[in-house]
Symmetry: C2
Subunit: 139 residues, 2 copies
């Protein structure tokens, strides 16, 4: 996934390649870990970009559609996103006390899900597993 892919995607949808979309795409590409629209907006602001929140909110669904990011947990009442790396899907444990998010991955869990979907004739595209509880420190 690079800027070329993004531009091709935008064009192929009949949309226009603009400075603002590029700026947002670049910033998301450089972002590690979780973020929410407001954080993304502030980070761009600090770098001198003049994008508005509206553009952020309008571009995020495009980034989800192209598969660069995905919506992860909604701990607070707003959406959080995260870069999708084809090779590093993981799920989340969320501490209900301190809000800490622990990432984990279990191949067995993945396979098990595939089996369950096969049984139901369901074509799995993606999944989201969130385990809520208390982290080591908060118990």
């Amino acid at each position: 996934m690079n800027k070329e892919d993004f531009r091709n995607f935008i064009s192929s949808k009949g949309l226009k390649i603009t400075k603002k979309r590029d700026e947002i795409f670049d910033e998301v590409l450089n972002t590690k870990g979780h973020f929410d629209p407001e954080e993304l907006y502030m980070r761009l602001k600090q770098k001198g970009s003049k994008v508005s929140r509206a553009s952020i909110y309008r571009t995020i669904p495009l980034l989800v559609e192209i598969g660069l990011i995905e919506e992860v947990e909604r701990v607070d009442k707003h959406a959080h996103y995260e870069r999708v790396s084809a090779d590093s899907h993981h799920d989340h444990m969320i501490c209900m006390k301190c809000g800490k998010v622990i990432e984990f991955f279990s191949p067995t869990l993945e396979m098990l899900q595939d089996e369950i979907c096969q049984r139901e004739n369901f074509h799995k595209i993606r999944h989201s597993l969130e385990i809520f509880g208390l982290c080591k420190q908060c118990q």
Copy 2:
């Protein structure tokens, strides 16, 4: 879980047993499947109840706390709830095309999660697994 349990729970919290709380509790008890606060409000309205949305929003967290309901998927941007039946926890497959929700349960999956949490010293309280994809009909 019956009205007695609910009343005891309310009392034990130092709260008061009121007509409105009873009405909301009864309605939720009689509700099968998913619902959101607005649906619950409309259903009560239709039955002649004079509850306000405020009471709905104030009572739902109590029903979650007592374990009668739990928050399930957020297909739209607002919360959806569902009755918890001690003996029938399940997860969801959600069709991205037609919106159909398929419920499933896998003891193996549950155990696997417990194991993963033990490894991480995470005290699991509840979890939510949503598999998105295409149902048999929509593939």
